[in-house]
Amino acid sequence: MKNQSELYKKVCEYLGCDLDSTPCKQIQEYLKVCRNCEVYVDKIKKTVNIYKVADSCDQLPGDICKKLFITLNLNDLNHPEELSEKD
């Protein structure tokens, strides 16, 4: 079990609040009696992580890059190899 202070910071972070804000101070009090809070925060963290992992699998298709530079009339400036290897 993490110590109270560390838990408090985690809950605030995942609720999106500033650490010294009133909601966070209220949460600090609440944590003293809430044993499920750490589990809740862990699930929020894993939920966000699932979406980050899922999104990181997406690649920008090479033909979209080429079409983009043609549309922008910038295709004469870059080599296709460079464009596909960047990012």
């Binding site: 999106g16 589990v39 699930k43 992992v53 079409k67 910038l74 870059n78 990012d87």
Partner: protein
Amino acid sequence: METKDLQQETELVSKAQNGDRQALSRLVIEYRNRIYHLGLRLTNSEQDAEDILQETFLIMIKKIHQFKGKSSFYTWLYRIAMNIGLRKLKSKPHKYQHVSINDPDIEKISSTAASEWPTFDYGQISEKRFRKKLDELVEKMPDNYRTVFILRDLHELSTEDTGKILQITPSNTKIRLMRARNYLKEQLEGLVAEEGLI
């Protein structure tokens, strides 16, 4: 963004404003992936994401001389992309009926015996069928929650920058993020068990 990168970008933007096409090209290369993925997550459509990508950079080239540096360049660019994306969403019928998003039920959290999620099998997450279900959950969220979730959690922008892009206060940004995260967590409770991810 680090100070050195910020300086380099400021110089690049300045050159682009003075008609340097190479500088414009560098800015496109820098941001094309992020803008495409923003569009993809927002619309859940590859075609719409490509349209958003092209329209965003066309407007960037047309209006870059109007950028005054009052916000960071990427905030300005994201705002253009977000406006195009939201306009596109409004022009089409919703695929799903949007769900109602509420605050976390604190009483329930504290009174129900909590069961932990072990570490997920992230290999399964990239499977097409599971990805579709994840996408559906996000797509069912009302636009004002989905946009905050995308910018804050997936693109890792700050509360302040997210608020500037969406033209809402930092407090509203935080509240929407909290509700969006809680909604997705609740939906995933059933999904991860159903899919055998835990």
